[in-house]
Symmetry: C2
Subunit: 434 residues, 2 copies
């Protein structure tokens, strides 16, 4: 299986910053990120993942919201490590294709073929208000723009053929100009001439990751993505999503094995289950239940007052999944799926979800159990792991869960390749211009 | 004096890539940049400078045009060094203020207060064609956009007051929300809500560098810039520009000492003058005179056919300085100023200009002579050095010119501060919201 380490601020638990072991200022300290990169590489994980949004979300009083720009942080991580991949989230709604494609290709060059771009369209007003070009409002159709954006990025990545560079000092010919192509893209949202201003990067195309769960998001992922990050909270839903995405990829003429499905998993790990539950209780205590409730309500786009903690979700208020207009479709769906399938009260549900993802608190064996089960039962090719706090949550995972997975023969004992494509079992695509 | 090292591809000489000692592929090799960063820091230089343009300029057959994205490369350099500053060029015409301000602020955090942004507006069609948003053509008034862009960036850098973060674990209060400000900018080109999604960076505001030489460029620099990069080819013109920019800054109510004037200098250094001239002749030979002629014609916006190599420039074709509409005003002006003042033939002129900047080929003492003269005679606070090729051109400068400057008492023997502002002798500005 593949495993990504999601460095979500100071940890997947929103109160991580208040925990004694955690330095609250480390979220803007590059050594913090490099350290977690090295820990994760010690565990031969596939990649470091960084989420992103170009806005300060939420009240700054509540915790260290916001983050350093991911491509810079991942440059630092890549240069502090040798093999682990680096996955940068970036928005198609608030970037230009040329700049972003170039930044990701630069990261691929700098890391020696370990870069990926996690394509997001960025919901929410906070970001939109930071990009309100006068007279050019953000287009309603975020996914229409995203489709075209990805297409342009791939063209730019392909614009130098692999053997374009000759570097003949004697004759003074650096590149074969016939193998460096303008892309001449003219579309609905963009017109981009190209070519890219750097040669094709080590992976040919940096890995494309996609995480949208709406109909449009799934279509974009099935068509273009090498890996899908997803929020799945029950094995059944995970299996259904896994099959659906492979079928959708096949419908686009792709080999279903060329799309890797990676659900998120929030972890709280102890030497024993009791230790894990104590750690979780301590963190929950620091946060306070009110705050958890408000996070849950926000994901459901409800008022916290509408949630009765000892009853099931107020189903009559929730309505159809399709109603998520300005939030994460995936988080919404995952939360209600779990509550509905297991008939959970609001309080029970809050103990099973963290950062919008399935939460498992347990011993290393228990964590390995659930990863192995989902992997063997066709619900996942891999996982995006969100430890409760850093660095200890990453250390426990690497030092105790990874060895258990290796013993069971479901995870590598060493890196066998050098690129992120190698780790994920993806081939290196030829240039469309070759 | 202050000294920046300008890593212009593989060297300031356009045929550097064909020189035996140079690996033509190193322009996309991050170790190449880190090595030059370390060499420059050994010489206690103020900063590494990277030019940029978001397009492949020129024919890829001619040499390694194009470059890795500067903020990523400078992240790598900053983390391979301890003290030297890192200056990233980025365009106001082809970025969004929120994204760019954030990336530069991130670089300032990552480098511990060593980041600068060189503000450019990016002339030329090649870049424009990579950013032709359908229905949203690039605004004619590049400098109007630039002025507003810089104003927004500064507001965003100021949006967290220095003491906004409390990080009170016990009470669960991370920041004093009253000290984190929306900027609520609504202008002609942009509307940006803010605040920045990271706290104020170590320098308060990253250093602002500006290099435009047109009337609008000089006005932007005089109003906002901490340092001015400029192309000056004769001492007299250097002195005039120096006085003019200080007067312009004063007219905006600024202390003239708060704006540092740094002309570019292309260097070819040998142990003796003869050795330097031999090195230059060898490089010129590799390039061929036709190619030099064509570069010169391009900067003059003329056809090479109009240049008679053994005569002066065809003055009747050149006309007024103001005619540079789609090229570098500074390069144009510097070239004709030198030719006019010294009545040079085209051939002579080509030996005195490299990469659009004044070229000096000589011994370490001769290089130190001209730097000292310009510095002592009121033409420069510092210099942006463009060695002919890397790494040897940087090594010779650091190991032979720097000691000479130190002996003469015009350059530091060790870093006395930790930030780029410290090196340049600039104070740390308070937040405008404090």
């Amino acid at each position: 299986m593949s495993i990504g380490m999601n460095i979500l601020g100071l940890g997947g638990h929103s109160s991580a910053w208040r925990y004694a072991e955690v330095d609250p200022m480390s979220y803007i300290d590059i050594d913090y990120y490099r350290n977690i990169g090295r820990i994760s590489e010690r565990g031969t994980l596939d990649a470091i993942f960084l989420a992103d949004g170009p806005a300060l979300a939420g009240n700054p009083a509540g915790g260290p919201a916001g983050r350093l720009e991911p491509t810079l942080v991942l440059t630092a991580i890549a240069l502090a490590t040798e093999r682990i991949g680096v996955i940068a989230t970036a928005s198609t709604s608030y970037n230009s294709p040329y700049n972003l494609a170039r930044r990701i290709a630069s990261l691929d060059h700098i890391s020696g073929g370990r870069a990926a771009w996690n394509v997001v369209t960025t919901a929410g007003d906070a970001a939109a208000r930071n990009f309100g070009l006068t007279g050019a409002p953000i287009h309603d159709d975020r996914y229409g723009r995203a489709e075209e954006f990805v297409e342009i990025a791939v063209k730019l990545w392909d614009s130098w053929e692999d053997d374009a560079i000759i570097a003949d000092r004697e004759r003074g010919v650096f590149a074969d100009a016939a193998k460096v192509h303008s892309i001449d893209h003219v579309g609905t949202h963009f017109s981009v001439r190209g070519p890219m201003n750097i040669p094709r990067s080590p992976q040919g195309r940096p890995v494309l990751v996609q995480a949208g769960s709406s109909e449009q998001g799934k279509s974009l992922g099935a068509r273009h993505a090498d890996a899908i990050f997803t929020t799945q909270t029950t094995l059944e839903d995970g299996q259904a999503f896994y099959s659906e995405m492979r079928a959708r990829a096949a419908a686009f003429g792709r080999d279903p094995d060329s799309i890797k499905i990676m659900p998120g998993l929030s972890t709280v790990i102890g030497s024993t289950e009791a230790e894990a539950l104590a750690r979780q209780a301590e963190l929950d205590d620091i946060q306070g239940f009110e705050s958890q409730l408000s996070q849950m309500a926000q994901r459901l786009q409800l008022d916290p007052k509408d949630l009765d903690v000892d009853s099931e979700l107020p189903w009559h208020l929730i309505g159809e999944v399709g109603r998520v207009e300005n939030g994460s479709h995936g988080f919404f769906e995952a939360q209600i799926n779990l509550a509905r399938r297991e008939k959970l009260t609001v309080r029970q549900l809050s103990g099973r979800i963290r950062s919008g993802h399935r939460l498992v608190a347990g011993s290393p064996e228990q964590i390995a159990d659930t990863l192995e089960e989902w992997f063997r039962k066709g619900a996942a090719d891999g996982f995006n792991i969100m430890p409760d706090m850093f660095p200890s949550g990453a250390e426990i995972f690497v030092d105790h869960v990874v060895p258990e997975l290796r013993r069971r023969g479901v995870f590598r004992t060493e890196y066998t390749g050098t690129t992120l494509r190698d780790h994920l079992g993806l081939s290196r695509p030829a240039s469309q211009y070759a």
